[in-house]
């Protein structure tokens, strides 16, 4: 497998970067660490003619603020730098812990926060080299017209597989998007679409500038990841939970987000409802886990049989809640 030919641009300012993207149009694509994009290009899943790197944008490489006021994490910050940053370690341990579950130390040195939040959706029929995909006549997501996971479906079910995503959605992080038309800040939750092909509510030309972590005001969060090995593997299930707990121990608000089972992170309102209103006891936890189990309907397009992945929902939700108890 080889990279196709492409032009590589390395702007120094955000203004230049978005202008270059405007010029490149549909043929352009941003790259940060390239740990997702380059392999995808080798497999011809993505074939941009112009690749615009965000690596030299100083503005994207900073972490500022603290837990009191909230923290701004530049999209170009590497996962390793995120994990090791003292403020993140102190004030947002769940973020550091979730990032630590991503792939391997080497990939975390290159991979970035922004790249993770915008990671392409994954599917066993799609994350394959060109010959392999040609062998099945391709699929809806790229070059073909059938979905092999749900034949007859007009929708692609490729799976949201980035570990930071469920957690960022759960804690209510916001993201800043910049283009030649200006900038906007939206909830991380609003960034994702339940469509494996157009999986982002982000215009193609928008640059992800930073992620804003909310101020700490009593909430706590955690992320649990199901995978086969101690390293490398993408999540085949991710459970992120945020709880706002009152002084007396009653849960005031809850967010329960499942990753790795659908094209977008899946919120489970029934689980949240089960958790709110009293202290985190066994019964509430059990009901929340049950609600997640009902809601989780993984399809047969990642590793491992889907039944195993579905079965794992309950224990993983329980593990997450137990940690927050």
């Amino acid at each position: 497998m080889r990279l196709p030919k492409f032009a590589y641009l390395a702007p120094r300012t955000v203004a230049d970067a978005v202008k270059m993207m405007g010029d490149a149009g549909w043929e352009g694509q941003f790259v940060a660490g390239g740990t997702d994009l380059y392999p995808n290009m080798k497999r011809r899943q993505q074939t941009p003619k112009t690749v615009i790197s965000v690596a030299r944008l100083a503005e994207l490489n900073e972490i500022s603020g603290d837990g009191k006021s909230g923290v701004r994490v530049g999209a170009g910050v590497s996962l390793t730098d995120l994990i090791e940053h003292p403020v993140i370690v102190r004030d947002y341990p769940s973020v550091a812990a979730a990032a630590r579950t991503i792939s391997t130390p080497v990939l975390r040195n290159m991979g970035t926060v922004g790249g993770n939040l915008l990671l392409d959706t994954r599917c066993n029929y799609y994350d394959q080299n060109y010959e392999w995909r040609r062998g099945i006549n391709f699929c809806l997501k790229k070059d073909g017209d059938v979905c092999w996971v749900a034949p007859g479906s007009q929708k692609c079910w490729a799976v949201q597989s980035a570990d930071l995503v469920p957690l960022m959605v759960a804690i209510g992080a916001r993201v800043r998007l910049v283009s030649t038309l200006g900038e906007r800040v939206i909830d991380a939750a609003a960034l994702y679409r339940d469509d494996g092909i157009n999986y982002l509510h982000k215009r193609h030309d928008e640059l992800l500038a930073d992620v804003q972590l909310p101020a700490l005001n009593g909430w706590r969060a955690t992320y649990k990841k199901l995978r086969r090995r101690g390293a490398f593997d993408f999540p085949v299930l991710g459970v992120a939970v945020r709880l706002d707990v009152e002084r007396g121990g009653a849960v005031r608000a809850a967010k329960v987000i499942l990753g790795g089972i659908a094209p977008a992170p899946v919120e489970v309102p029934d689980a949240e409802a089960a958790l709110v209103g009293g202290s985190l006891d066994d019964e509430r936890m059990r009901r929340a886990a049950e609600a997640c189990y009902v809601k989780a309907r993984p399809l047969d397009n990642t590793d491992f049989v889907m039944n195993w992945r579905k079965q794992m929902t309950k224990p993983y939700v329980l593990r997450a809640l137990e940690e927050l108890r």
Binding site: M1, D127, E131, R228, R229, G230, A231, D303, F304, W308
Partner: protein, 749 residues
């Protein structure tokens, strides 16, 4: 004063690896580091279906075809068959394809990108024929996809008469069926070669390989050239594990064909996906056991039906099957044994050599069966084994009399002591009865592994090793045995230095190049140290004898005296060389017709203990601790030897619990490392390696073979431990969480 004199022994010391410095500094040159002037890049167009008849090949639009070198079966100057055991596998399919990765067209061009685009533009129209994908389908002859009856090879081993035992009323009969999956070797460096070929100079190939003379033999046939017109040179090789035993003959032929037609040097390097999908993997297997035991726990009869899936062509299946067959009855004494073994054809890419070579498959089945029989007898697994371990003077299934000292019970005791087996076994049983969701188990496997080629194999090979002393006294070992990461160069130099009482640094190993080294046989079958090493030792001693015979060297000498003797000898007589050729040790007799006799010159003996935890919530089975005790003769290099064991155990952990080839229509659907998962450093337990050393008189400095042994024991030991943890005696590998869930799902509350 000589340094050599002060060092009493070089064997047994962890001297630095010969090529270690070059590897860690990046100076080592692998095939992809090689660039020749005018070199172009080759690619392979493969079948798209498992079985069929080629109707038409079209070269699509948008590619400047006149710039490309295009080779099809019609361009082959000699025989269109990869010469190995049989001549059944074509280099390029001309009419029929028999597996979904079968090569059909070769392309080359100076622009790598263009070749890849061109490959995509070739459309091969194939009329499909009904394929066969499983051992059962093949054995049932649902379709005949190879030869007369889908059978590459079969063996029958008969010892005593099992049929007389079944009806006896003093025996208990236990039956079982066991399966093992395919496994990919996953060497770090993928297959690759560079070739130069033209009528004047003949064919020269550089490449990543285990067996230069296999490639040499194959190219002679392919080009119909005399042997001196073919030259094969091994480049630094990043691992093989058997995966570079036969396949390099294929890719070398392809590059040479492109070079022949284009007149330019051609490089072909497979990417990981192509390497995983198209090259050989471990043979999947199905084994049926029927065992009769007396009430006092003695084996009375073993009937074993052992079948391996060879894929589409014969390749090495016959010899893989042979090793599997001979190891199928294990390190136990049983008076009556029948082994019916068969290698059958399916429409998957040919399966091939992989560390262990058939033995891990049949040993897995046997060890699971031994546990099952013990249970039926209400004996502990260890007590049942103790009552049946083979002893000096007793015979194996092939009626080989064990003449070496063997003490399996002693190894077992040592392994139990090191692992705390008995204490843990008891403790886990108590703890598992509790409500905890994580269950633990400890289990073991006892096994042996023969070193060197099976039966008369070594006699047919007639391997030769040379040693040359240059005028400065340096000794050069000339052998075709390859360094593939396992330490060949280092141990050869140790053996020669030890034999000549010279410093390790005075010995060098020449690069395997068929133009300058003799054929010391393939680098396979745990034969490099024991068989070839012995030849190194005697060739080295030959140098000394020559010098002493010529009166140039005293009985006892210093390094300086050695140098001086070499200088004077080469001055007078030119190059000082000594060659040594294999001779079977006395009393080693093998009957190929009856499949009976001394299968191997020596066996390594081992007991492996695995401890696992099984999470009943996630169905995740993990190996938590591992003890590997083995008797391998004298250990030449303790660090390399331990490395061999650790690596083999890690590979065995993958074989047992992680590595599943997902087959779809004969094709590996997960031909990438994101979803063909091998254990990482985080998934491999601490591996505690212990050697018992009983010097073997016919091995160099007393050594036997070691490379394949550690592949045999982990899977059965791990499944035995899983059995204690879960109460379920699983009979197949890989054992994935899904399988555990299927079986244990009901146990959950």
């Amino acid at each position: 004063m000589s340094e050599a004199r002060q060092q009493s022994s070089i064997v047994g010391r962890p001297v630095p690896r010969k090529e270690g410095r070059a590897k860690v500094t990046g100076a080592a040159r692998y095939v992809d580091d090689l660039t020749l002037p005018g070199m172009i890049y080759g690619a392979t167009v493969r079948s798209t279906v498992a079985r069929g008849r080629i109707k038409n090949i079209t070269f699509g639009e948008g590619v400047p075809w006149d710039e490309l070198t295009v080779v099809t079966a019609r361009d082959i100057p000699g025989a269109n068959a990869v010469a190995l055991i049989l001549l059944d596998q074509p280099y390029l399919a001309s009419e029929f394809v028999n597996h979904p990765e079968e090569p059909i067209v070769l392309l080359a061009h100076p622009d790598k990108h263009l070749v890849e685009r061109a490959r995509r533009a070739v459309l091969v129209e194939i009329e499909p024929l009904p394929p066969v994908f499983t051992i059962e389908e093949s054995a049932a002859k649902k379709e005949i996809v190879w030869g007369e009856d889908n059978t590459f090879k079969s063996y029958l081993v008969e010892k005593g008469n099992v049929d007389e035992v079944w009806s006896r009323d003093d025996v208990l009969i236990v039956e079982g069926e066991y399966r093992t999956g395919a496994q990919e070797q996953l060497y770090i460096e993928t297959n690759g070669v560079v070739a130069v070929a033209n009528a004047d100079e003949g064919v020269t190939v550089w490449g990543s390989m285990q067996c230069p003379y296999y490639v040499h033999k194959a190219l002679i046939k392919l080009f119909d050239l005399p042997e001196e017109k073919i030259r094969v040179i091994q480049t630094e090789t990043g691992g093989g594990f058997g995966g570079k035993e036969e396949y390099p003959s294929m890719i070398a032929g392809h590059a040479a064909l492109l070079a022949w037609k284009s007149g330019q040097p051609v490089k072909i390097i497979y990417d990981r996906a192509e390497d995983m999908a198209a090259t050989t993997k471990r043979h999947p297997s199905l084994t049926r056991h029927r065992t009769a035991v007396t009430r006092d726990g003695k084996l009375a009869a073993q009937e074993i039906e052992f079948t391996v899936d060879g894929g589409a062509y014969a390749t090495l299946s016959a010899v893989v099957l042979s090793r599997g067959t001979i190891h199928a009855a294990g390190p136990y004494y049983c008076p009556n044994v029948r082994i019916n073994a068969r290698a059958v054809a399916t429409n998957a890419p040919p399966h091939g050599a992989f560390r262990g070579f058939g033995a891990p498959q049949s040993i897995f089945a046997l060890e699971r069966q031994m546990d099952k029989v013990a249970r039926a007898l209400d004996l502990s697994a260890e007590e049942f084994r103790r009552r049946n371990f083979i002893r000096e003077g007793e015979t194996t299934a092939t009626e080989q009399i064990i003449r070496e000292k063997v003490d399996m019970a002693g190894l077992l005791a040592r392994a139990f002591e090191l692992s705390g087996y008995e204490e843990k076994r008891g403790r886990f049983a108590r703890e598992n009865a509790g409500r905890g969701k994580v269950k633990r188990g400890i289990g073991f496997a006892t096994f042996m592994h023969g070193a060197g080629f099976t039966g008369s194999g070594e006699v047919f090979l007639q391997s030769i090793v040379g040693c040359e002393a240059s005028s400065d006294g340096r000794v050069h070992i000339l052998a075709a045995s390859t360094e593939i990461g396992q330490g060949t160069n280092t141990i050869f130099a140790q053996i020669a230095a030890e034999a000549l009482k010279l410093d390790y640094d005075m010995v060098e190993v020449s690069r395997p190049d068929t133009a300058s080294v003799p054929n010391s046989g393939p680098t396979v079958a745990s034969r490099t140290c024991m068989i070839v090493g012995k030849l190194v030792e005697s060739a080295a001693l030959g140098l000394r004898q020559t010098l002493q015979g010529a009166g140039l060297l005293a009985e006892v000498y210093t390094a300086d005296e050695w140098r001086e003797a070499c200088r004077r000898h080469t001055e007078r007589h030119g190059a000082l060389k000594s060659f040594s050729q294999y001779k079977a040790p006395p009393d080693v007799v093998w009957d190929d017709g009856k499949y009976r006799g001394d299968a191997y010159g020596a066996f390594a003996w081992a007991v492996y203990v695995a401890e696992v935890s099984v999470d009943l919530v996630t169905y995740d089975a993990r190996v938590e601790d591992f003890v590997a005790v083995q008797e391998v003769g004298r250990v030449i290099h303790p660090v390399l030897a331990a490395g061999q064991i650790e690596g083999g155990v890690a590979q065995g952990v993958g074989y047992a619990l992680y590595e599943r080839v997902a087959w779809r229509e004969g094709r590996m659907a997960n031909s990438q490392m994101t979803n063909y998962i091998m254990p990482t450093a985080l998934d491999v337990p601490p591996i505690r390696v212990h050697f018992e050393e009983t010097p073997y008189p016919y091995g160099p400095a007393g050594a036997k073979g070691i490379g394949e042994l550690p592949m045999d024991g982990p899977a059965p030991a791990i499944l035995s431990a899983v059995e204690q943890a879960t109460g379920v005696a699983f009979t197949h590998i890989p054992l994935m969480p899904e399988d555990l869930m299927k079986e244990l799902g009901d146990a959950r509350d």
